[in-house]
Structure formats: structure tokens, C-alpha cells
């Protein structure tokens, strides 16, 4: 069953005893003037699990991701990565600490090939450049893809597209390149902001399967999506947000049946209609 969420205290599924959460948020708030985009969120994410965030448009899901990745400053609260405070760390240092993300819209570099776009992610992985430059004059071979790129391309089924430019790809394929770029970073925490937007059902199922396959690697994943069925099929645990606050959390199938969640999505009037039928 889903649980109603207190607005203070930490939320999240219990991890193995004695383990440190990969990510912990303590009373995180992001206010833009008088607008409380995120208002007092506390939660914990454990390794090897897939978490989801659902909520209507404007509920603060993407702002929360931006706050976690330090692209948006916190108004208050604390962020802990593997128990280490990171709320004062620059966004550019988080990649080195194992945090990768995709964005709500496709953000590929148009003048670079798929291989080079994915390589940008691998570049953030420490030591990857050294692998690339192995051997004399290795730096003179910029087209040689690193093992991390080859692996990310294979996992996202992008073989054959490596030399294409983003403008030559369908929208769904571009989104897969974004995911490949994030995977190439070798993250411990992967944040996916509506990764399947614009994809058809087959492509969505592929992304869901990809995410589940990465769970076995110990990767902690946080997925923001509107496709609730995909959330049910993919996630181990779901948080529901509305107006910048957590309104429910728990097993995905339970959360989507939570009256507070249905009301947030549909409004009280539609919810009552739905129940009466």
C-alpha cells in the first residue's frame, strides 16, 4: 500500500541494514520568488533500485532533478551523495562523483556524430581518456571510440548509427543517444527526465528493459515519467509529487491508486466520477 507522506523526515524504501543511501534529500526546497517549485522534499535512494517520480505538469519533478544535479540552487535543505554533503558542490563536480542525467528535451550537439556525442559522456569518466590514448600518438586518433562508448552504444541498440549526425535520426533514436551518453559516464546514480517522450510503445518497452538490466549492475536510477504504465512496469518504488511536495510514495501500483494522487492528476470532480462508475 502507498503511504501518505509526512513533510518532514526522510522517505524511501528501507535499504539493507547499515548501508548508506546513494542519494539522500533532507528538506530540500527550491523557491523562485513566491513560487515554491519544490517545498521540503526528503527522500532516500538506495543502490540497485529504480525509483520513479510522477506528478502532474508543474508539480516540481524536473525542478527537483535540476536541484539534485545542482543546476538550480537550493533555497534550503541538504543533498547527500553516499553520505557526503554535496549541496555546496559545483554542478560540474557531480559527474566525477557518479551522477549522470538526461534532460526533458533532446540536447545533443548537432555538429557531432552519435559516437562523439556519446564520447562526451565517456570523457567525464576519469581515466577514460587515458584508455583512449593508449599507445604511441593515441591522441592523434580522435575517431577511436573508447570501450565505454562501445558498451553504451551496444546497450542502447545504437549500432550502425555511430557515424550519423543527430539531424539524421528519428526523435526516439535521438533520445536513445542521450541515454547512451549518460550511461557512458559510468554513473552510480542515473537521473532520467522523461526519457521516453516521443517514443513509440516498442521503444518504450526497450528503454524499460534497458533500465531493468542496469539494476543488476547496482546502479541507482530515478525516472521522471508521465507514462504510468511504464512506471508500474519499470520502477521498484514511486514518489508522487504535487505543488512541490510529496503526496504519496510506495509500490507503483499502489501509488497510482492513491486517492491523493488521482485527485492531483484528475481533480476531485473527475476522481469522484471515476469512482461512481
Amino acid at each position: 500500500m502507498s503511504t501518505s507522506v509526512p513533510q518532514t523526515g526522510t522517505s524511501g524504501p528501507p535499504g539493507p541494514a547499515g548501508t548508506t543511501p546513494v542519494l539522500e534529500l533532507r528538506d530540500v526546497a527550491v523557491h523562485f520568488g513566491g513560487v515554491k517549485a519544490v517545498d521540503g522534499i526528503s527522500l532516500q535512494l538506495e543502490s540497485g533500485l529504480i525509483y520513479g517520480i510522477i506528478g502532474p505538469n508543474g508539480s516540481g519533478k524536473s525542478t527537483l532533478i535540476a536541484a539534485v544535479t545542482r543546476l538550480t540552487p537550493l533555497t534550503r535543505g541538504e543533498l547527500l551523495l553516499d553520505g557526503r554533503p554535496v549541496h555546496d558542490v559545483a554542478a560540474s563536480r557531480l559527474a566525477g562523483l557518479g551522477v549522470a542525467r538526461t534532460f526533458q528535451t533532446v540536447r545533443l550537439l548537432p555538429d557531432l556524430t552519435v559516437r562523439a556525442n556519446v564520447q562526451i559522456g565517456a570523457d567525464a569518466r576519469s581515466g577514460d581518456e587515458a584508455q583512449q590514448r593508449r599507445g604511441p600518438a593515441g591522441w592523434l586518433r580522435p575517431r577511436a571510440a573508447s570501450p565505454a562508448v562501445a558498451e553504451a552504444v551496444a546497450r542502447t541498440r545504437l549500432e550502425g548509427f555511430e557515424d550519423h549526425y543527430p539531424s539524421e535520426l528519428s526523435y526516439g533514436t535521438q533520445r536513445r543517444v542521450e541515454i547512451a551518453r549518460a550511461i557512458a559516464m559510468g554513473p552510480r546514480l542515473l537521473l532520467l527526465d522523461e526519457p521516453t517522450a516521443g517514443m513509440n510503445q516498442t521503444e518504450r518497452a526497450e528503454i524499460s528493459a534497458l533500465m531493468r538490466s542496469m539494476r543488476t549492475d547496482g546502479l541507482c536510477q530515478l525516472l521522471v515519467e508521465h507514462d504510468v504504465q511504464m512506471m508500474i512496469d519499470t520502477c521498484d518504488y514511486v514518489f508522487a509529487m504535487n505543488s512541490g511536495r510529496l503526496i504519496a510514495q510506495g509500490a507503483p501500483a499502489d501509488v497510482v491508486q492513491d486517492p491523493a494522487v488521482q485527485e492531483a492528476y484528475l481533480g476531485r470532480k473527475w476522481r469522484d466520477h471515476a469512482r461512481s462508475e
Binding site: S92, P110, D123, G160, Y165, T202, Y265
Partner: protein
């Protein structure tokens, strides 16, 4: 060849110094930094090298080395102050910096030669040394366009937020753009004054920004190759157009206007597009022969073996299954 080189020595020298000047503006633009401080650094470099040789009797290469280090430091200090500005505001701040350098040159008294400038800056600086320094600078700039550094520069320019997420310290790159721009501008100014033996207030200032921008807009703003193309065209074109007398300014202006309108990525951009088109054609031919990715109806590309499955899935595809579809929405509810 040797006769041609000797009779056009001044044009060759102008091409090299013009190329480095253009790079001093192009390098920050490639990082998305709208800085024209390279023109100011050119002015500082020209006067500093002239003063070091004329007043303190330094050798040519020592004067150039000191000048380049000095303009790089000035670039760093300038960047530390204004690198947080963006777009038009940053451009205006750097134009102001350039104008300040011109004012200082005119009002510098005996040190800068005031409105008449400096004359008789004679050194043993050779054409070979000038070519070597230019090639060395070009090689360093070219290295910043390939591999990891090239990708990172592209990311900083196209999407600073993405760059930060990819572990790139955007502020450091922007600051580096000012330093490199300062060093290149200083090098261009120093080399030019040492081959010309004179510099005056009319040789620096706003006209340098126009010249450098013209070179990189027409040649291409994303690569040193574009700057090279632009430097060759706009150094040699005025000389070739002398046959049409007073009309040459008009022809010059029309070429710039046509390039700006029809070639937004410059001549090098057109060459690049042509190369990519040829690559794509060759690749698609190979792919079709072996059953690899092909162009689909909407212009996207998909692996051939998946084509039937993708089309079937699209036909059966449902709209996004959002939460409202899990409950039965009442007819007519609004």
C-alpha cells in the same frame, strides 16, 4: 615561386598576422564567448613589442615572448572581471576595452609616441621566424578542435548547462578563452609591428574588430581553417581589386553581405556540408548493400532489420498511457 613570394612579401606577412588576429576573436566565439578583446590585445601587443625593442633594446623573440605572456595575463584579468557577462553586454564590455587601449595609445606621451605612434622599430625578426610562430599558434588552436578538448569546447558553446552536467567547468573554459585570445592577439600585434617597424593609433582600434569578424564570418567561425580562408581572401582581395579603383570598397562590401546572408557557416561550413553529404551518400550506399540503417519515410534512419517491426509497432501504438487512462474519464466531463 620565389619571385612571387618576394614581390608579395608584405601581403604574406599581413596574411599571417591577420590570421592570428582572426583566431584571437574566433577562439572565444567557438566557446560561445562574445569577446572582441583580441583586438585590444593586438594593440597592446603591437605597442608593447615596439616599446620593448625601441626603448629597452630587447631582441625580437624576447620581446614577442614577453608580450604574449603579458597579454595573456591581461586577458586573464579581463576575463576574471567580465567573463560572467553574456551576449551583447559582454561584446560591448570588450569593445570598450579595445577603445580604452586606443585612447591610452594616443595619450601615452613619449612612451607610445602619442598621435604619431612609434617608428624605426628595427629588429632581426625574419620571415622564417614569423612562419614558425604562426604555425605553432595554428597547431595549438587546431589541437583544441579535436579529441576530448574539441568536444568539450563544442559542448561549452552549444549548451553550457549540459556541459556542467558532463563534468565540464564552464567558467574555467570561458576564462581560458580570454587568456588564449589575449595571447593570440598579443602575438599578432607583436609580429606585425616587428615586420612593419612602425605602429600608430590608426593601426589599432575598432577597425581590427571589423577586419577579424569579416575574416571569420566569410571564412567560417567554427574552425581555424575558416579563419585561414578568410585571412587569405581579405588580405589579398583588396590588392586584386585595385584595378577597379574606387569601386573596390563596394565589391568588398557586397562579398561580405552575400557571404553573411547565404553562407551562415562561412566558406569552410559549405565545404564541411559537402563533405558530410558525400560521406552520407557513400555510407547509405554501403548500408543498403549490406542491410544496415536506411532512410525511412519521415527522414529518420533505422536499421533495416528492425524496419518491419518498428512499422508494426507504430501501427499498433497507443497514445501515452497516462494516469487518467487508468480511471474511466466520464463522458463530457470538463
Amino acid at each position: 615561386m620565389s619571385d612571387f613570394f618576394s614581390s608579395n612579401l608584405v601581403l604574406v606577412q599581413s596574411t599571417l598576422s591577420g590570421l592570428i588576429l582572426a583566431l584571437s576573436i574566433q577562439v572565444p566565439l567557438r566557446m560561445g564567448v562574445f569577446s572582441f578583446a583580441g583586438a585590444g590585445s593586438y594593440g597592446i601587443g603591437a605597442y608593447a613589442a615596439g616599446i620593448l625593442v625601441l626603448r629597452y633594446e630587447f631582441g625580437a623573440l624576447t620581446a614577442i615572448a614577453l608580450t604574449v605572456v603579458g597579454t595573456a595575463v591581461i586577458g586573464f584579468l579581463l576575463g576574471a572581471v567580465i567573463s560572467k557577462l553574456n551576449g551583447l553586454y559582454l561584446a560591448m564590455a570588450t569593445v570598450a576595452f579595445d577603445l580604452i587601449i586606443s585612447v591610452v595609445a594616443i595619450n601615452g606621451g613619449e612612451l607610445t609616441g602619442a598621435s604619431t605612434g612609434l617608428f624605426g622599430i628595427l629588429t632581426d625578426f625574419t620571415m622564417t621566424q614569423m612562419v614558425a610562430l604562426t604555425v605553432a599558434a595554428l597547431a595549438l588552436v587546431a589541437m583544441s578542435e579535436v579529441g576530448r578538448l574539441g568536444r568539450r569546447v563544442d559542448t561549452v558553446r552549444d549548451d553550457p548547462e549540459l556541459a556542467a552536467s558532463m563534468g565540464i567547468n564552464v567558467r574555467r573554459y570561458r576564462l581560458a578563452a580570454f587568456v588564449v585570445s589575449g595571447a593570440l592577439g598579443g602575438l599578432a600585434g607583436a609580429m606585425n609591428v616587428l615586420v612593419r617597424s612602425t605602429v600608430g593609433p590608426l593601426d589599432i582600434g575598432f577597425g581590427l574588430i571589423v577586419l577579424a569578424l569579416t575574416m571569420i564570418i566569410v571564412g567560417g567561425s567554427r574552425s581555424w581553417k575558416g579563419a585561414l580562408i578568410g585571412a587569405v581572401i581579405f588580405t589579398w582581395l583588396p590588392d586584386l581589386l585595385t584595378v577597379i579603383g574606387e569601386w573596390q570598397e563596394l565589391v568588398y562590401g557586397v562579398i561580405v553581405a552575400i557571404a553573411a546572408i547565404l553562407l551562415p557557416r562561412g566558406i569552410y561550413g559549405v565545404l564541411q556540408d559537402g563533405w558530410r553529404w558525400a560521406q552520407r551518400t557513400r555510407r547509405d550506399r554501403r548500408a543498403a548493400a549490406r542491410g544496415g540503417p536506411v532512410v525511412d519515410d519521415d527522414g529518420g534512419l533505422r536499421p533495416q532489420e528492425d524496419e518491419a517491426a518498428v512499422l508494426a509497432a507504430q501501427a499498433a501504438d497507443q497514445p501515452h498511457r497516462e494516469l487518467d487512462q487508468l480511471s474511466s474519464r466520464p463522458q463530457g466531463a470538463s
